[in-house]
């Protein structure tokens, strides 16, 4: 039996076979004989999550536009399927042609969140690819990109090349390099060496030496002599998004996926400068797609997919420079075709009454607002430039326009936080509730629902809080319970919060150095995988892995760093400069805000990049 038939044999035995059948509408099939480069794109989580990832859609499209390359998708199989594959000797395979991942030329892996790292190792194992980069003599080069690549060290021993920044151009440079390297017949190492100079944003960890201080901190990360690798690796930057490739077709999954709709990226980057937010730093500067281009893409995608919803995506969609016009045009254009327009990540201060009305015409979902912190003092510390008045104005507008459901997002454990800030969250919820009841009964929709959701703050690299300690588990639990007891007093208010264990691990791997890779390997041996899924989170497996590796997780999560410590990612430049991050940290500690740089340059360092911030 061939591999495809052997996979089919497993289908009656698994939940949701549609995760593995491939063949979805608009998936790309090519003749393997007619392409030079086979690229496997692995999203290290289950199909429904991976198929909701915009980056994969963009890169899949841009690669498959080339005649010389075939990009196929790969997902980590759900544990039921994984077990069957192991029992039946079925290797990790691609969705499109069901080719073993091991026989591809390049394996791209996207790093969206730290808690998918075990799935990466598990997937390499299933593919039969040696875990350690140094042990690979053949098979695909493993290339990792995405936000977590900005602290590559915890995965460094497993990866051939990290690719930093925007992928639309650099991924083509990889294909060109691969063809040229293959034709040259040079050894494997030569591909890595050439990537450094021929592919923008490339970091090749095997070309660097690390030294540690007696106290366990990093002393230095230096390129090996003669390697040609740079001291500081700059990210790749695509300045013109209007001209950049964007999918004109999207794969239409059979089963339901998380974002089962057209995703339209209206701009990239955010200049609000919220100090906790890694995305707000590493995706700088703001680059908008023109309205004409967006309307053109939207039309093509509606025709090509049959989806009945378009989601306008970005880090802060309310900041799009002509949002009211765009929303208006979109609604006009697609209303007759019953296509709904939705705006996620709504920012309250950018909330325009007209936009509210436009989106309501097609759909009225819960209004999502993210004040992030409960008091003005703490909001100033994190530079969330939102006041209580902004919030009250936004919810009052929404309630009087017929909304009755509001979601409020907060974080617990922010630097300088006290119990008073937690009580401030309950106070805000009380005031939001009051806004609703202040509107005459006949003018508001019935059934008020306020959801307060509080996640645990994880300090991230390349943010002004990269030096901060994560608050200890005991304090976090105390504050979660304090908030719960306060919110329990309010009718119509739900409270959602997360377990501390996962956030603690996330904090370790977000700011880990190369040594924590050993913990990852041991955790996978102990059966850890799908860690962000509560049903699979295996705390005992992790505890044992840390103990066996002799690594104290608290060193990485709960330790305050001094501003002159060499951080494990100090050789990576994400766009903003170290000087800016330090300045922002100090301003945070003084409770001073920094305005959005659209109102005047704040000297974040982006101007060091050619063509950025014109």
């Amino acid at each position: 039996m061939n591999l495809s038939d052997r996979i089919d044999e497993l289908m009656p035995l698994v939940q949701k076979p549609s995760r593995y059948i491939g063949n979805e509408y608009n998936s790309v099939i090519k003749d393997p004989e007619k392409v030079d480069v086979r690229y496997a794109f692995l999203f290290p989580d289950v199909y429904e999550i991976g198929m909701s990832h915009l980056g994969m859609k963009i890169l899949y499209h841009t690669l498959n536009k080339r005649d010389d390359c075939w990009c196929e998708r790969v997902f980590t199989p759900w544990p039921d399927m994984m077990k069957l594959m192991e029992q039946n000797d079925v290797p990790l395979f691609s969705q499109e042609s069901r080719t073993p991942v091991k026989s591809f030329d390049l394996l791209g892996i996207t790093l969206m969140y730290e808690m998918s790292y075990t799935n990466i190792l598990k997937s390499l194992h299933l593919a039969g690819i040696p875990l350690y980069q140094k042990d690979r003599k053949d098979g695909p080069f493993v290339i990792c990109g995405g936000p977590c690549a900005f602290n590559p060290e915890p995965l460094a021993p497993f990866v051939d090349i990290f690719t930093l920044g925007d992928g639309e151009r650099s991924i083509h440079q990889f294909i060109d390099l691969f063809k040229s390297w293959k034709a040259s017949g040079a050894p494997r190492e030569e591909f890595l060496r050439r990537a450094v100079s021929e592919v923008e944003g490339s970091y090749v960890p095997s070309l660097y030496d690390l030294a540690y201080n007696p106290d366990g901190t990093v002393q230095s990360i230096k390129p090996k002599e003669g390697s040609g690798a740079p001291e500081l690796v700059f990210k790749a930057l695509v300045n013109d998004l209007t001209a950049a490739d964007y999918p004109e077709k999207l794969i239409v999954p059979f089963g339901e996926v998380v974002h089962d709709r057209i995703m339209l990226e209206i701009f990239r980057g955010c200049t609000r400068g919220c100090r906790f937010c890694q995305a707000g730093m590493i995706y700088r500067p703001v680059r908008e797609r023109s309205m004409d281009r967006l309307l053109e893409i939207a039309e093509k995608l509606v025709n090509a997919t049959g989806f009945d919803e378009i989601s306008l995506m970005s880090l802060s969609s309310g900041d799009y420079s002509c949002l009211p016009e765009l929303a208006h045009e979109m609604v006009e254009k697609f209303m007759a075709r019953r296509v709904k327009i939705s705006l996620p990540s709504q920012r309250i201060d950018a909330f325009l009454k007209d936009t509210l009305k436009e989106t309501q015409k097609v759909r009225k979902t819960a209004l999502t607002l993210a004040p992030e912190a409960g008091t003005q003092r703490l909001r100033d510390v994190i530079n969330k430039g939102v006041t209580e008045e902004d919030l009250m104005r936004a919810v009052t507008d929404a309630f009087s326009e017929g909304w009755s459901a509001v979601k409020l997002y907060f974080m617990i454990g922010l630097p300088t936080e006290t119990d008073e800030d937690i009580l401030g969250i309950a106070d805000l919820a009380t005031k939001v509730r009051r806004c609703y009841f202040s509107i005459p009964k006949e003018q508001r929709s019935p059934g008020l629902r306020i959801t307060v959701s509080a996640s645990v703050f994880v300090p991230k690299p390349h943010t002004p809080f990269q030096w901060c300690a994560q608050i200890d588990a005991e304090t976090i639990r105390h504050r979660q319970l304090l908030l719960k007891s306060e919110l329990d007093k309010l009718k119509g208010v739900d409270y959602k919060y997360h377990e501390m264990d996962v956030s603690y691990l996330e904090a370790v791997f977000a700011r880990g150095d190369r040594r924590v890779s050993e913990v990852l390997r041991l955790a996978v041996e102990n059966g850890c995988m799908f860690d962000s899924w509560t049903e699979f989170f295996n705390k005992a497996g992790w505890d044992k892995a840390f103990a066996d590796a002799g690594i104290d997780p608290g060193f990485y999560s709960s330790r305050e760093r001094s501003l002159d410590e060499v951080l494990p990612w100090s050789h990576i430049d994400c766009g903003v400069s170290l000087a800016y991050l330090k300045r922002e940290y100090q301003k945070a500690m003084r409770g001073e805000i920094t305005p959005d740089c659209r109102k005047g340059c704040q000297g974040c360092g982006m101007t060091r990049y050619e063509g950025a911030c014109r």
Binding site: M11, N23, Y25, V252, F254, T305, F307, D308, R338
Partner: protein, 223 residues
């Protein structure tokens, strides 16, 4: 006006569940430029119905869905645009027009024909098949939402013969009386005194009964 399409479900499409297929067809209809009629209400969707849900894992040469349209469309447009909106392993074979007042295809289904290809144990199944058809009654269990229900497998099997290693059979398919190929195969294996044999099944027709009592494909029924 209703458009009634006959289509196949082949290859890997057999692993697409009924619920997923419904959503998939809705999107396919959105991709056509047909003047589809939409339901009223907050989340309008095409007025679409699939006749006789096919269990996951089975292929089919003859599946039927119908969709209501507003206004008119010519036959070749109806056929071509639907073909273009579907993948190769879901081939559109035919389209027919029916008035809005014509009963739903779903309500016409009384029985279905299947081709079942067992992987092995052919001689045992051959003799079990003959013995099965000679008995008057053979009890088996059908899984339902609420648990298991005892059914007379023999009475729900209207035809059964084996040719060249393939079992050709006609099974009841109504709300009250339904027999699925897996239950039939389990019965045959029990009768043969062997473990369950793995098999592939393909539906080859959905059938109804006309006013003269003749059994016909549901798309050929004139009422």
């Amino acid at each position: 006006m209703k458009l009634v399409y006959v289509y196949g479900k082949e290859g890997r499409m057999r692993f697409v569940s009924h619920l997923d297929l419904q959503r998939f067809l809705q999107r396919a209809l959105n991709r056509t430029c047909l003047p589809i009629a939409f339901s009223k209400g907050f989340n309008p969707h095409p007025i679409l119905s699939i006749a006789g849900a096919l269990a996951m894992g089975y292929e089919s040469d003859y599946e039927v869905f119908e969709v209501k349209i507003e206004g008119t469309v010519d036959k070749s447009t109806a056929l071509e645009t639907m073909k273009n909106a579907l993948p190769e392993d879901m081939p559109i074979k035919q389209v027919i027009f029916r008035d809005d007042t014509f009963p739903s295809m779903m309500s016409l289904v009384k029985m279905a024909d299947y081709e079942i290809t067992p992987r092995d144990s052919l001689p045992e199944l051959q003799s079990a098949a003959s013995a099965f058809m000679r008995t008057e009654s053979f009890m088996g269990l059908r899984k339902t939402k609420s648990g298991e229900k005892e059914i007379d497998v023999r009475k729900l099997c209207l035809k059964l013969e084996m040719q060249n290693g393939v079992i050709l059979t006609r099974l009841m398919l109504t709300e009250q009386d339904t027999l699925k190929p897996d239950v039939l195969m389990h019965s045959l294996c029990t009768l043969a005194g062997i473990d369950d044999v793995s098999f592939r099944a393909k539906r080859t027709g959905l059938l109804g009964v006309d006013r003269y009592g003749a059994v016909k494909l549901i798309t050929e029924l004139q009422l």
